[in-house]
């Protein structure tokens, strides 16, 4: 046998080994374990704010840590910063490229990042009188689907070039690349201690990475379509993903496998976005069919719906104080619910 054949055989053996090891610890289901838990209350949040200002599809939104400011990005070529409490527009950032797919605030909210089909992540300083472009992070060979600040000087990106990147904003250079996905990287989420992060991609896998050495630590299989959204459970040990396969799934990192699948009786719409309430009990998921479903994350039951948008819900977000959930849509509106 040639060396290549030996390696291929070893790869197959290792894959089987991993599956066997996962099965060995798969002694129950999350549903069974939660059968004794009282059902979550049937909540019906009301739309408290409708924010109208964009003139095209909204693709992304992000809450500032002050729980008041929220930024949205639309293919009308603008980032709008909203004072959601007062219900007014706080700032407007025109973009060089209208094809925005992601927006985020830095921890101070003095910087916003946006990325999209221009293959760049653009950092704009909005703390002054006028927005000022600070950096254009150039280096990905594909669209920038997601960007998340670690600090005022460091940002993580997920790209259609199948890699994630860690960038130093002082130099504008990439500090680390994360190579292992075999499909477009669509979303990332940072662990609280910022030593690791998770990513979801069009190869249907989610992966756990070490930020410093660029190493992929664990790969999570189960989805059968592009993973569009990913978020940590607040206990930091599990995460939830949303996919074009019309399901959401919970993966536990210590058990190294999927522990729950959230699927409608007639699954016809892909999941575009997801957010978790403060305790992790409520899972809000935006779908292609214009709705946002509310799931009981422990029991796997659908317990409510947010309806009000006239087109796909493309993004959702919950601020750090957990006081509301916001939705952004292709209908060009944002809504805030509680």
């Amino acid at each position: 046998m040639g060396e290549l054949d030996v390696l291929k055989k070893e790869a197959e053996t290792l894959k089987t080994q991993i599956e066997t090891a996962r099965k060995a610890v798969n002694d129950t289901t999350m549903e069974a374990a939660s059968s004794g838990v009282a059902p979550a209350p049937r909540i019906q949040p009301k739309a408290r704010r409708t924010l109208k200002g964009h003139t095209a599809k909204i693709y992304a939104l992000y809450w500032a840590l002050d729980n008041k400011l929220m930024v949205s990005g639309s293919q009308d070529g603008k980032l709008l910063v909203w004072d959601t409490h007062a219900g007014i527009l706080a700032n407007c950032v025109p973009l060089k490229s209208a094809w925005v797919m992601t927006v985020s605030f830095s921890p101070s909210a003095g910087l916003v990042a946006s990325g999209g089909l221009d293959n760049m992540c653009t950092i704009v300083n909005i703390s002054g009188e006028k927005p000022k472009t600070m950096r254009e992070l150039d280096g990905h060979d594909g669209y920038v689907a997601c960007s998340r600040f670690l600090s005022e000087t460091s940002i993580l990106t997920a790209s259609g070039d199948q890699t994630c990147g860690l960038w130093d904003l002082e130099t504008g250079k990439q500090k680390q690349s994360f190579l292992n996905h075999v499909g477009d990287c669509m979303c990332v989420a940072l662990a609280e201690d910022q030593n690791t992060f998770i990513s979801g991609a069009c190869d249907s896998q989610a992966k756990l990475w070490d930020i410093r050495d660029g190493q992929c630590k664990q790969s999570f299989i189960g989805h059968t379509g592009d993973i569009n959204a990913i978020s940590y459970m607040p206990n930091g040990q599990a995460f939830i993903t949303g996919s074009d396969d019309c399901t959401l799934r919970m993966f536990d990192m210590r058990a190294d496998q999927e522990v729950m699948c959230y699927q409608n009786a007639q699954p016809t719409a892909g999941v575009t976005s997801l957010s978790l309430s403060l305790s992790g009990r409520l899972l809000f998921a935006g779908y292609d069919d214009f709705n946002c479903n509310i799931w009981d994350s422990l029991k796997g039951e659908k317990i409510g719906v947010l309806s009000g948008h006239d087109n796909r819900v493309s993004c959702t977000g919950i601020p750090s104080d957990g006081m509301c959930v916001s939705t952004g849509s292709w209908d060009s509106f944002l809504k805030i619910w509680n």
């Binding site: 290792l14 058990a255 409520l282």
Partner: protein
């Protein structure tokens, strides 16, 4: 097959095996343990979860209702 592409196939296969060895070596806990921890966390923090508990009008920063329309 040229030497170069044969070599790069080999390198790719070596990397794949190295990665799989790393992922195989992860220490796993039982799903029952993971589920119990998640359950405990959610239940212990339920009372602090405004969306779960409901937000009283007096504490709700989004009341009174306001709409923002730029046009």
């Amino acid at each position: 097959m040229s030497n170069n592409s044969a070599n790069s196939n080999l390198v790719t296969a070596q990397k794949a095996v190295k990665q799989l060895r790393l992922e195989a070596s992860v220490r796993r806990i039982k799903v029952s343990q993971a589920a119990a921890d998640l359950k405990t966390f959610c239940l212990q923090n339920a009372h602090k979860d405004p969306l779960l508990m409901g937000v009283p009008s007096s504490d709700n920063p989004f009341r009174p209702p306001k709409s923002c329309a730029l046009f």
